[in-house]
Point group: C2
Chain length 196, copies 2
DNA sequence: TTGAAATGCGACCGCTCGTTCGCTATAATA
DNA sequence: TATTATAGCGAACGAGCGGTCGCATTTCAA
């Protein structure tokens, strides 16, 4: 039950921090949402700040495992249409997975206050995506599917607009389907422009 | 002196809210930074929340004046090179103007908590820019400078990556010059791809 | 010049915050 | 079974919060 409680606290913390921010979250609400007494929390963390630090540690590890390791790199598509499908799949997961959504919100809110949140935000929102697609596009150029060009520039050109639309989904979940349609329209525009 | 104090309070509020968020800001620090007693603030605003609402009102008006009105629409460039120059100028201003930077940070931090901040964030980060460049690109197509295409899609393709780089500057000011170089590289890539 | 409105101030109020304490109940160890 | 950590609880603490009050000072119209 002990380890379990600790993890439940971290889950609730991610939920509340991502909605109200670190400063806007209080221990009473957090523990109450778990049916736990305020003071019981201190059996697992020595302070509110330690919750924050532990949570961020976990998110950093989680990110590196999921997006940083080469074995999780999506396979290089064999056709332009496959690139569109792969993209839609990726964006769908990233927009629907509650933990990933909350992580982005948390990083968005806290990026100006915490250095580690800032660094992870840049990875999540920019460099992680571009590095991933730089490899994919280099592979597609090898296969003759994409016009020969700087793969890093093309990756930036491709991922940045998608990143903007993902942020839109986080901000206005009502517009998710609309945004997804725009992701697909953009992806098709991209293959029309750069595809061979 | 009265009106002046009220505006100074709003300026300080923008500064502190954009750094620490609404919940992370307290009246004592805010007024102290102006050399003002805590209680004196209540001569000008009836609560902390009223400061927030007034500030947001002001930012909304400011945005509509500055970016919403047709007379502030930049002239349609007469050459592709002019588009690059105009873009660099625009981004430079938006990244260097302290008030605009703080406004973006504030909207970034508070977009999930306040509906009006959320709406203004979408304008600032997405629709405002694309609408502006939709008109510009339509004009450039008229002049035969850009390949005929959906101007709204091209505007999105052009402004979204720039928006991402502006966010990067807000998050990591150290990388501003690096980001500006990337804006220019991207802009040139764009005119090479879509220019006539 | 006078009187009222506007502005500033420090003291103070009630409340909520993060955190601590002493106690009980449970689970693991021997 | 006796012992000892472990995990839970409500009460309470000191600090800091947003906000109020009464009073002094300035502003300015009459």
């Amino acid at each position: 039950m002990a380890k379990d409680t600790k993890e439940r606290i971290l889950t609730a913390a991610l939920e509340m921090f991502s909605q109200n921010g670190y400063a806007g979250t209080n221990i009473r609400e957090l523990t109450a949402s778990l049916g736990l007494g305020k003071s019981s929390m201190y059996r697992h963390f020595e302070s509110k700040e330690e919750i924050w630090n532990t949570l961020l540690d976990e998110l950093i590890v989680y990110y590196d495992r999921r997006f940083g390791s080469p074995e999780h790199l999506p396979p290089v598509p064999d056709s332009l249409e496959e690139l569109v499908a792969m993209t839609m799949n990726l964006v769908n997961v990233t927009v629907r997975d509650e933990k990933i959504v909350m992580t982005r919100k948390l990083l968005t809110i806290e990026q100006f206050r915490d250095d580690r949140a800032r660094d992870l935000a840049t990875k999540h929102f920019l460099t992680g995506l571009t590095e991933m697609f730089t490899k994919i596009f280099a592979g597609m150029m090898e296969k003759g599917l994409l016009r020969r060009d700087d793969p890093a520039m093309l990756a930036f050109v491709y991922t940045a607009p998608i990143s903007v639309l993902i942020h839109l989904c986080d901000r206005e979940p009502d517009k998710t389907s609309e945004a997804m349609a725009q992701v697909e329209a953009f992806s098709r525009h991209f293959i029309n422009t750069y595809g061979v």
